[in-house]
């Protein structure tokens, strides 16, 4: 079908206000969020936040799209082999053309973490590897104790999605997931369960930015 006109920034903003209200839309339009890891969690968090109208997303992943990712991550079959950060930027531009996007094809380490997180209002930990999760969370909490951090642990297996929850661990640190289902123990990864956890993270980000988490 022939392409219709893409809505203007004003039209999109009006539509966001209609659905989300003025306060949330205004707060989000000024916020920068760093998403570390662009797999089943990060790619879904990014789409939620881009649709909701955040100002800027910093998207960090060193990996390329693999055919096994298509089952639960927001990539397309023709993007297999592309760097995830670049592929996600392409997809987000189609969905939400006015969000600022910063793609980083790098592995996050204790040494380089500053450049990804220092300008973010909220940092999302969305890695799959538990040691990488621990590294990022410890580094952010130690170096940036005032930074809002939303991490995830436990979204594997076939349990009912109701076991996935959001917990506030301390003033600026939130943890989503069931806390125990471990993919390294041979559990399955099912897209809906991973997406439920990603949605918990994205909603927590929106609540933090909107001043609803006190």
């Amino acid at each position: 079908m022939a392409c219709c006109k893409i809505p203007s920034p004003e039209e999109i903003r009006r539509a966001l206000v209609q659905k989300q209200g003025e306060l949330i839309t205004e707060k989000l339009s000024q916020a920068t969020v760093a998403i570390c890891g662009l797999g089943g969690l990060g790619s879904n968090i990014a789409i939620c936040l881009a649709r909701a109208g955040v100002k800027k997303l910093i998207l960090v992943d060193f990996d390329n799209v693999d055919v096994t990712n298509l089952q639960r991550q927001q990539y397309k079959a023709f993007q297999v082999g592309m760097p995830k950060a670049n592929a996600l930027v392409e997809n987000l531009k189609e969905i939400a053309p006015y969000v600022e996007l910063d793609a980083c094809n790098e592995k996050v380490t204790e040494e380089n973490i500053d450049k990804f997180v220092q300008n973010a209002d909220v940092v999302c930990e969305a890695f799959d590897n538990p040691e990488a999760k621990s590294m990022l969370v410890n580094a952010v909490l130690e170096k940036y104790p005032q930074k809002n951090l939303v991490a995830a642990s436990g979204m594997a297996g076939t349990d009912n999605a109701n076991s996935i929850a959001t917990r506030k661990i301390s003033k600026h640190f939130y943890l989503c997931g069931d806390g125990k289902s471990d993919v390294n123990e041979g559990l399955e990864l099912l897209a809906p369960r991973v997406m439920v956890c990603a949605a918990h993270q994205a909603l927590t980000v929106i609540r933090i930015i909107s001043g609803l988490e006190v």
Partner: protein
């Protein structure tokens, strides 16, 4: 408050007097996969061996599992 008790992940544990490192070893945590908060502040991994748990401390040991 019962002497010697520390609240760890919501449970009362007789761990006052132990260092964070001693408690984590006794509970068989994998140090590469955790973050520890004591009274709502992160305990840096480099301090696990020096920080001594006190009666009434509230500790959260966040254990990260694989998947994302």
């Amino acid at each position: 408050m019962v002497a010697n008790q520390v609240k760890i992940n919501g449970e009362d544990v007789a761990a006052a007097g132990m260092t964070v490192a001693e408690y984590l070893a006794s509970a068989q945590y994998d140090l590469r996969r955790i973050a520890v908060e004591r009274n709502c502040e992160i305990v840096p991994k480099s301090k696990y061996a020096e920080v001594v748990l006190e009666t009434g401390d509230v500790v959260e040991v966040v254990n990260f599992v694989g998947g994302g």
